[in-house]
C-alpha cells in the first residue's frame, strides 16, 4: 500500500533535524512502526525527518554514574549490550523479546519508547529501570523521567519538534536487580505483550528498600504500578510478600479487553506477570 505524499528530510546534524521538525512532522528512526502506519494511511505526516544519518546517536555510553542509550541504538544492540544487561536487565530483556530478528535489527529502543504503544515491551523496562528521557529541540533540552513520559494511548510527552536523543539509566548498585517477563500474543514470548511486567528491586539487610514495578499490555499505556512497589518496600521479598504486593497490581489501571484477552483474563495476567517479574528481579540481584 502506498502512503500519502510526504516530504522526506535526512539531516546530518541535530540542528538540521530541529530545523526540519514542525507541527506536522515525524521523526523516523528504524521505521518499524512508523512506515506500516503510513502505508495503511492511518497516519499521514507532511514531513518525515529521518535521523539515521546523524552521527553520534548510535552508541551505548557509560558515563560513570549512569549509562545512556542513543536514539539509533537498535533493540538488538540494547539486548546484547553487556552494559545494559548488567545495569538495566529488565530493559535488555524487554529488547530481546521485541519482535523478531529483523525488527530487532532495525527498530530502535528510543523509537519503541517514543511510539508509546501499550502492548510494547521496552516501555515497561524503561519505567522499572528508572530511565530518564533526553528530549532535545531547537529550544533546548528537557529531561523527562520515564514515569512522566507515557501520557496516553500511543502518546508520549515528546513535542513534535523534539527528538528523543537518548535515554539515561542509573547503574545497578549493590543489592539491586531487575527483570521483565510477558505473555506474547502468539504464546510464550512471541509477539507483542498480551500482558507483561517489569520490576526493579533494591534489597538491603534482607528487606526490600525500594522497588519499581511497571505493567504493559493491559490498560491504555505502559504504567507504573506504584501500589505494588509501595507494598513490597519493607518486606523480606518472600513469596507471601510478593503475593500480597501483587494484589495492588491494577490500582489506578483501567484494564481493556482486546482480541487477546477479556478484562478478567488480562487482570489476572497482570498479577501473574507482576509476580513473576518481581521474583525474577529478586533472583537477579
Amino acid at each position: 500500500m502506498y502512503p500519502r505524499q510526504f516530504d522526506y528530510v535526512a539531516p546530518t546534524s541535530l540542528e538540521e533535524a530541529f530545523a526540519a521538525l514542525g507541527d506536522d512532522s515525524k521523526v523516523m528512526a528504524g521505521g518499524m512502526s512508523l512506515i506500516p502506519l503510513m502505508k495503511m494511511r492511518l497516519f499521514s505526516p507532511d514531513v518525515i525527518v529521518d535521523i539515521a544519518r546523524i552521527p553520534g546517536l548510535a552508541t551505548i555510553h557509560d558515563a560513570g554514574d549512569h549509562i545512556s542509550i542513543g536514539a539509533l541504538v537498535t533493540h538488538g544492540e540494547t539486548a546484547s549490550s553487556d552494559s545494559v544487561v548488567a545495569n538495566a536487565t529488565a530493559l535488555a530483556t524487554a529488547a530481546s523479546l521485541t519482535g523478531d530478528v529483523q525488527v530487532r535489527n532495525r527498530g530502535t529502543t528510543c523509537g519503541a519508547l517514543a511510539h508509546a504503544d501499550v502492548a510494547a515491551d521496552q516501555p515497561a523496562g524503561a519505567l522499572a529501570c528508572g530511565a530518564v528521557m533526553i528530549a532535545q529541540s531547537a529550544s533546548g533540552t528537557r529531561e523527562i523521567p520515564a514515569s512522566e513520559f507515557f501520557v496516553d494511548a500511543m502518546t508520549s510527552a515528546l513535542r513534535s519538534d523534539e527528538v528523543l536523543t537518548s535515554i539515561r539509566l542509573p547503574k545497578t548498585g549493590a543489592g539491586e536487580g531487575s527483570a521483565y517477563d510477558k505473555l506474547g500474543r502468539r504464546g510464550g514470548h512471541s509477539d507483542y505483550a498480551v500482558a507483561g511486567a517489569a520490576a526493579w528491586v533494591k534489597k538491603s539487610n534482607g528487606s526490600i528498600e525500594a522497588a519499581r514495578v511497571a505493567l504493559t499490555g493491559v490498560g491504555i499505556k505502559p504504567t507504573l504500578a506504584s501500589g505494588v512497589a509501595d507494598a513490597l518496600v519493607g518486606t523480606d521479598g518472600s513469596d507471601a510478600a510478593v503475593a500480597a504486593a501483587t494484589e495492588h497490581a491494577l490500582e489506578g489501571v483501567t484494564v481493556l479487553e482486546d482480541l487477546y484477552g477479556s478484562e478478567e483474563y488480562k487482570s489476572h495476567l497482570a498479577k501473574v506477570y507482576v509476580s513473576r517479574a518481581i521474583k525474577q528481579a529478586l533472583a537477579n540481584i
Binding site: 502506498y2 505473555l183 500474543r185 512471541s190
Partner: protein
C-alpha cells in the same frame, strides 16, 4: 544425475533464482505505459449504496478512469465453476454484501495516484443488518440476499440418519458427541495477489499475468466474460507465484476488472493487492460449525458416526464454493470401519468474504471432527486413544476398502504406521513423563491424531458431479496433460498443465524425466503456468500435481523413450527391444560399448533422411492422464504440549509424524511440504482466526492481529515414513501437499485437551489462544 534420480533429495532447481531474489513474479514484470488500479472497498458488511461521487477522483491529475458497477454490469457476474448460490457482481451492485467488497475501481498513471484517487471517491452507505453467524443464517430468519429464497444454498447429505440413531438409542451403546467450530481462516501466501492485464487492440486478444494456481480456468473465464473467439485469445500466465494454499485456486473479480480497464484505456493495467486488502477480498477457508457423534460398544467397537452442521460460504459463491465441503465428505469417515454413517452439511451465505478452497479444503475439517471425537470417545470408554483407533481401523486385508460414504480407498496399513509412531516417539516414555509431571502439578499432554486423505484430485468422472472447468467454458475434467520434447540439440523441454506456487514441480518433473530417459537434470527445462503452452490443465490443488500431472509427464517421457529406442536401434543396428537408456544416451542391453548419445539420437530424429524408413521426424510427445481413483495417503502424528496453569499458555514441546504418501520422487520436497503443512495446521490450532464483530467488521485485517506461526514459534518436527504405493497411477505416488495441514490441527487440540483432562476438560474452541485455555481451566476449576 540421471537414472536413479527418482526417489532422491535432489536440490530444487527453482531455488537459485528465488533465493537470490531474481524470481520473476507478477510485480517484477514491467510494461511500457502501464496504468495501475486501486479499489474503493466497502467498510460495511451489509449496506445500501446511496450515492457515489466520483468527481474529486476524476479531477485528480493522473487519474485515468473511475469505474462503478454501471460500467461493468454488462460483463455479468464473476463466473464460478460451481455456480450455486449468489454470484459476485464484478463491482458491488446497489448493495454491498461484505466488508472489503470492491465498490469502485480507480485507474491512474501509477499506484500511488490510484490510491489517492480511491481515497477521494465519496461513497454514501445506508447500513443494513449484517448476518455473520452461519448457524443463524441457516435459520433463514433474515435473508442474506433478498433475491434468493434461502440462505442455505446447498445441502450435502449421505448415509442414513435413522440407522445411526437406532444404534445410538440402543441401551448398551456409548454415545460421544462434540459440537465444535472449525474456525474461519485467512489464507496467507507470502505474495499478495496481483495482475497485469494487456488487451491487444487490433488483435483483440488479451494476455493476463496473474497469481493463480489454475491458469486455464482463468483463460476460460476471460474468454466467456469478454466474448472472445475462444481460450486461444486469452493467454493467462502464472509466472513465479509466491504461495497458493488454495487462494489461487479461484477466478477473481480483479482479474476481469483489470482486463476490462486495459481494454477501455488501451494500456496495460496492473493491480497489486495490499496485505490488508488480501484479508477481505481474497477467499477465506474453513468456517464450519458441526456436531460429530460416535456411537460405540462398551468394548470400544465403533458402530456409527455422524457429522451434521453448517459450512459458511460467505456472501458470494466463487469457483468451487459448495463443492469444498464435499471434498471433506470423501474423508469424513476417517480410517475407521463403521456400520452406519450419516453426514449432512448445509452450505450457507453470510455477509462475509467468500469461503473457498484452503489447503486441504474440506478434508482438514472432517478429519478434525472425527479425530477430536475419537479422542473424546476414548475418554468416555476409558480406553487408550491409540488402542481405540487400532481396534477400528481398516485392516490391510480390507483394501481396496469401500467406505460407507461411497468411496474406495486404494491401499493402506494404518495399524503398522501408527505402531511405528508409537515406537519412534516413545509414547510409553511420554506417558510416564506425563504422569510424573502431573504429580508435580504440571499439565503435559500427549495428543495423537491419525488421518487418511483423498488426494490426487481425479478421476475425470467427477466432472459429471460438477467438478470440472465447465463453468469456465472448458469441458475439461480432472485429468492433466504434459508435453515432453527432446530438442534438436538433445536438451529436453517439459511442459506441464499444473500451476506450481512454490511446490517444486520443475525439480520433480525433471527428476521423473531424467530418471526415465537418462537425460541429465541440467539438460531439462520445465515450463509451466502459461496457457499457450499446454492443451489443458486443471492446476495445482488437492495434492494432485504429482499423482496426475507428474504421471502425465512420465507417460509422455515413456512415449519419447519408445520412439527414441527405435531411433537408437536403427543407429546401433540392434532391435528396439534391446535398447536401454543410460548416461545421457542409449546402448544395447548387456553391451554398454554399443552406445549412442542423446545428441546422436536427437540429431537423427530431426533429420528425416537419417531416420529409419517410414518413421516421422521429431521427438515431441503429449500425454493426458486420468487416474482410476483418488489416492489415499495417510499417517499418524503426535504432539507433546505443556500448558501453563497460571496463564493457559500452550508450549508445543515436540512433534513427530509418520506419513505414507506412497512412492516418493524427492524426499526433501516431501519433508518440506510436511513441515509447512504441519506448521499451517498448528496455526489453525493455536493462532489463526478470522474474527468478525457482530456488525461484520473484520477485526483481524492485518498480520498485526491475524496471527500466523513463524519458525521461531515451532519445534523442529521429527518425520518418518511408511511406503504403501497406490495402484491408481503407474508411479505409485499419492501426494503430500495437504497431509500435514489436515492432521496437525486435531493433533495439537488432542494434546492440549489431554493435558487438561485431569480437570475434566473435554474440548476447547480453536484457536487455543491462552485466553481460551485459561477460561476453560477457570471454568473447570470452579
Amino acid at each position: 544425475m540421471t537414472q536413479g534420480v527418482f526417489g532422491t533429495s535432489v536440490k530444487r532447481t527453482e531455488d537459485p533464482a528465488l533465493l537470490r531474489g531474481k524470481g520473476l513474479f507478477v510485480d517484477d514484470i514491467k510494461r511500457h505505459d502501464e496504468a495501475a488500479a486501486a479499489f474503493v472497498r466497502s467498510p460495511f458488511a451489509h449496506a445500501r449504496i446511496t450515492s457515489i461521487d466520483k468527481s474529486a477522483a476524476e479531477a485528480m491529475p493522473g487519474v485515468q478512469a473511475v469505474y462503478t458497477t454501471d460500467d461493468v454490469r454488462s460483463l455479468g457476474p464473476l463466473l464460478a465453476q460451481v455456480a450455486i448460490g449468489k454470484l459476485r457482481p464484478l463491482l458491488a451492485d446497489e448493495v454491498v454484501k461484505h466488508v472489503g467488497e470492491a465498490v469502485v475501481m480507480v485507474v491512474a498513471d501509477n499506484a500511488a495516484i490510484a490510491r489517492d484517487g480511491a481515497d477521494a471517491v465519496l461513497v454514501d452507505y445506508d447500513p443494513l443488518t449484517a448476518i455473520i453467524d452461519p448457524e443463524y443464517a441457516a435459520t433463514n430468519e433474515t435473508l442474506v440476499h433478498d433475491e434468493l429464497e434461502s440462505n442455505v444454498i446447498h445441502t450435502w447429505e449421505a448415509g442414513e440418519a435413522d440407522a445411526v440413531q437406532e444404534l445410538a438409542d440402543r441401551e448398551d451403546t456409548v454415545v460421544t458427541s462434540l459440537k465444535m467450530v472449525n474456525q474461519r481462516l485467512i489464507p496467507t501466501a507470502i505474495e499478495p495477489r496481483g495482475v497485469l492485464a494487456e488487451w491487444q487492440h487490433g488483435y483483440d486478444r488479451v494476455t493476463l499475468h496473474t497469481t493463480t494456481q489454475q491458469p486455464h480456468a482463468v483463460a476460460g473465464a476471460l474468454a466467456l466474460t469478454f466474448g472472445l473467439p475462444g481460450v486461444n485469445s486469452a493467454r493467462v500466465i502464472a509466472p513465479e507465484v509466491g504461495g497458493g494454499f488454495g487462494r489461487g485456486l479461484n477466478v477473481y473479480a480483479e482479474e476481469m476488472l483489470a482486463v476490462f480497464a486495459s481494454r477501455e484505456l488501451g494500456r496495460p493495467v496492473r493491480w497489486i493487492e495490499t496485505r490488508s486488502e488480501a484479508s477481505k477480498s481474497t477467499i477465506h477457508g474453513r468456517g464450519w460449525t458441526a456436531t460429530a457423534t460416535i456411537v460405540s460398544e462398551p468394548d470400544g467397537h465403533f458402530l456409527a458416526y455422524s457429522l451434521v452442521g453448517v459450512a459458511d460460504m460467505g456472501a458470494y459463491s466463487q469457483n468451487f464454493s459448495v463443492a469444498i465441503p464435499v471434498l471433506g465428505q470423501f474423508t469424513m469417515p476417517g480410517q475407521y470401519k463403521w456400520e452406519a454413517i450419516y453426514w449432512k452439511m448445509d452450505c450457507v451465505h453470510t455477509h462475509t468474504p467468500t469461503v473457498d478452497a484452503y489447503r486441504g479444503a474440506g478434508r482438514p475439517e472432517t478429519t478434525f471432527y472425527v479425530e477430536r471425537t475419537v479422542d473424546a470417545a476414548a475418554r468416555d470408554l476409558g480406553m487408550d486413544p491409540i488402542e481405540l483407533r487400532k481396534k477400528n481401523f481398516f485392516q490391510p486385508e480390507d483394501f481396496p476398502a469401500d467406505t460407507l460414504i461411497g468411496m474406495t480407498m486404494d491401499s493402506g496399513d494404518y495399524g503398522s504406521n501408527l505402531d511405528i509412531l508409537v515406537e519412534k516417539a516413545d509414547i510409553k516414555g511420554l506417558r510416564a513423563m506425563q504422569e510424573a509431571a502431573r504429580a508435580e502439578g504440571r499439565y503435559i499432554g500427549v495428543g495423537i491424531a491419525t488421518f487418511v486423505e483423498a488426494c490426487g484430485l481425479a478421476p475425470s468422472g467427477f466432472a459429471d458431479a460438477g467438478v470440472s472447468w465447465a463453468g469456465y467454458g472448458l469441458p475439461s475434467a480432472f485429468n492433466e496433460s504434459a508435453v515432453v520434447r527432446i530438442n534438436p540439440d538433445a536438451s529436453a523441454t517439459v511442459v506441464t498443465g499444473t500451476g506450481p506456487t512454490g511446490q517444486g514441480h520443475e525439480t520433480v518433473w525433471s527428476q521423473i524425466v531424467s530418471d526415465r530417459l537418462a537425460i541429465p537434470m541440467e539438460r531439462i527445462v520445465v515450463i509451466h503456468g502459461d496457457t499457450k503452452d499446454t492443451p489443458m490443465g486443471i492446476g495445482t490443488g488437492g495434492s494432485r500435481s504429482v499423482a496426475v500431472g507428474g504421471v502425465a509427464v512420465a507417460i509422455a517421457a515413456d512415449r519419447i523413450k519408445e520412439k527414441a529406442a527405435k531411433v537408437a536401434a536403427h543407429l546401433l543396428e540392434a532391435s528396439a527391444e534391446d535398447i536401454v537408456f543410460a548416461d545421457n544416451g542409449a546402448h544395447v542391453a548387456g553391451s554398454p560399448d554399443k552406445s549412442v548419445s542423446w545428441t546422436d539420437i536427437a540429431a537423427t530424429a530431426y533429420q528425416p533422411h537419417k531416420m529409419p524408413e517410414g518413421m516421422e521426424a521429431g521427438l515431441d510427445m503429449t500425454a493426458f492422464f486420468d487416474p482410476s481413483n483418488l489416492t489415499w495417503p495417510y499417517g499418524s502424528h503426535v504432539a507433546v504440549v505443556e500448558v501453563d496453569p497460571d496463564t493457559g499458555d500452550v508450549d508445543l514441546m515436540s512433534y513427530s509424524a509418520v506419513d505414507d504418501c506412497g512412492n516418493i520422487v524427492n524426499p526433501m520436497i516431501v519433508a518440506g511440504q510436511l513441515h509447512g503443512g504441519i506448521a499451517q495446521g498448528i496455526g489453525q490450532a493455536l493462532f489463526e482466526e478470522a474474527v468478525f464483530d457482530e456488525d461484520g467488521n473484520l477485526l483481524t485485517a492485518s498480520l498485526l492481529d491475524y496471527l500466523i506461526p513463524t519458525a521461531a514459534d515451532l519445534p523442529s518436527f521429527d518425520l518418518a515414513k511408511t511406503t504403501t504405493p497406490t495402484d491408481a497411477n503407474p508411479l505409485g505416488v499419492k501426494g503430500i501437499g495437504e497431509a500435514g495441514t489436515i492432521v496437525s490441527t486435531p493433533t495439537i487440540v488432542n494434546a492440549v485437551v489431554d493435558a487438561l483432562s485431569p480437570l475434566g476438560i473435554n474440548d476447547i474452541q480453536m484457536p487455543l489462544r491462552p485466553k481460551r485455555v485459561w477460561a476453560a481451566m477457570q471454568e473447570a476449576r470452579s
